[in-house]
Amino acid sequence: MCLAIPGKVVEVFEQNTMRMAKVQFGGITREACLEYVPDTQIGEYVLVHVGFAISKVDEDEAKRTYELLEEMDQLTELEAPVVDEIASRRGKS
């Protein structure tokens, strides 16, 4: 029910005094009301729920979260050789 999908704004227009947009989700384009994110520009990503954009998707934050998770990934990988090294040293001694 609270499903909301991120999509790219490809067109902005006015309808019945309301700011509307055409939003692209993968291969599908649907209309969404922009009244709640009025400063949205073409090319930006919005989160759409039942025909309403309820939030803009912040590209920098999306990147930051993803990089945080990736860094954790790298940290774990960095740890691995150290453990191996100790193990192999132990093996040699």
Partner: protein, 377 residues
């Protein structure tokens, strides 16, 4: 698709699970509040990826599930009227009332329509001036701005033949009710990302402080959910109890101010009955008196309807995190999505329906079969 595929990376998911395993020292019970999160967790098998001892329990955040049976019967009584076009989101159509569902009413010549957006009701009302268009306005805070815009626009544009049947519920009072219960098992929450996209998360801070419970506002993709669980476990292991925001690409502490302003100009807070749980004080929205001309409950004199819930169903205990679908003897047997006995089976986002859809009702049988086979060998 951008902002979806990146958050479904299996390799990264495995690393987050490893990280959770590394920091976990004791068992913890975490509740995801939102039905969309429950569905995603069961669909992607996230609960089964987690290290032993991290238990996910499924919260009350499925609005279709918690809509009281008498409200569904009211909707059906209105939908059966020949002068009404009854509009709803798709997921409400299969929910059975005391006598059939909206599909049954449609098959019996009732004019029942699925809409993509509540605003579609204005177009339908304009095209059908001799009919009254009623929209079943259910949902949590996420859906309230859309439903509020329908009521606001109908009044502002003078479209008189549109009304709403309101059954709106709110998340924080439900969390408070769960935490205040003496049987509560929940030690941390994954907060509802899309509810908070509208409302922000400041209203969760007093709850976190009062009950000393971590609340991590979390998104819906597999990496979001695992990241949220990791953040919750980090807090639990270090004894912290704060509100944290995993879903920062979508929301901040303040939420969507223009949406909140319109919601509060149309709705006011009042008591609401939750299916399976009962009445929770100040837990829902009602239309403000100045919108009475668009209130379906006032326009259509639908008498108080007496309903009876199944005595077998344990959905109330499941919605509070005290029990799981497998604890119910009727799960997958007398009760299934075609013949739901109660709240958690009526919508795809209910815990029982999600377990059923992804074959979890077979697991018990599989286990039993394998035990029997092992015994026989």
């Amino acid at each position: 698709m951008k902002y979806i595929d990146e958050y479904r990376d299996g390799k990264l998911a495995a690393k987050i699970v490893d990280e959770i395993r590394k920091i976990q020292t004791k068992p913890w019970v975490i509740m995801e509040v939102c039905g969309g999160q429950t569905h995603s967790i069961v669909k992607h098998g996230i609960d089964q990826l987690l290290p032993e001892g991290i238990e996910l329990v499924h919260g009350p955040g499925c609005p279709v599930c918690v809509t009281p049976l008498e409200m569904i019967d009211k909707a059906h009584a209105i939908a059966r009227r020949p002068d009404v076009i009854f509009c709803s989101f798709g997921d409400m159509l299969r929910v059975p009332g005391s006598d059939g569902d909206l599909f049954t009413i449609k098959s019996q010549a009732g004019d029942v329509r699925i809409v993509y957006s509540p605003l579609d009701c204005i177009k339908i009302a304009r095209a059908n001036p001799d009919k009254h268009v009623v929209f079943f306005a259910i949902g949590f805070e996420t859906t309230a701005p859309a439903n509020a815009m329908l009521v606001h626009s109908a009044k502002a544009q003078g479209v008189r033949n549109v009304s709403v049947l309101v059954s709106h519920v709110l998340v924080p009072p439900a969390i408070a009710a769960i935490l205040a219960s003496p049987e509560n098992r929940v030690q941390a929450f994954l907060g509802p990302g899309h509810v908070c996209a509208v409302m922000g998360y400041s209203e969760y801070e007093p709850l976190s402080q009062q009950f000393h419970v971590p609340i991590v506002i979390t998104g819906f993709e597999p990496l979001d959910l695992l990241h949220g669980i990791l953040m919750a476990v980090r807090q639990l292991e270090s004894g912290r109890a704060e509100v944290e925001n995993q879903y920062s690409r979508v929301l901040d502490r303040e939420g969507n101010r223009p949406a909140q302003a319109l919601v509060f100009s149309v709705f006011e807070i009042g008591d609401r009955k939750w299916r399976g749980i009962g009445t929770i004080p100040a837990s829902g929205y009602h239309l403000r008196p100045e919108f009475a001309a668009h209130d379906a409950e006032q326009i259509f004199d639908v008498a108080q309807i007496a309903t009876r819930e199944s005595e077998l169903c344990i959905s109330g205990e499941i919605l509070k995190g005290n029990k799981k679908p497998h604890d119910c003897p009727a799960f997958g047997k007398e009760c299934n999505p075609q013949h739901p006995l109660g709240a958690t089976m009526v919508s795809a986002e209910g815990a029982c329906a999600a377990y059923y859809t992804y074959g979890r009702h077979l697991e018990q049988a599989d286990k039993l079969t394998s035990i029997h086979t092992a015994g026989a060998a």
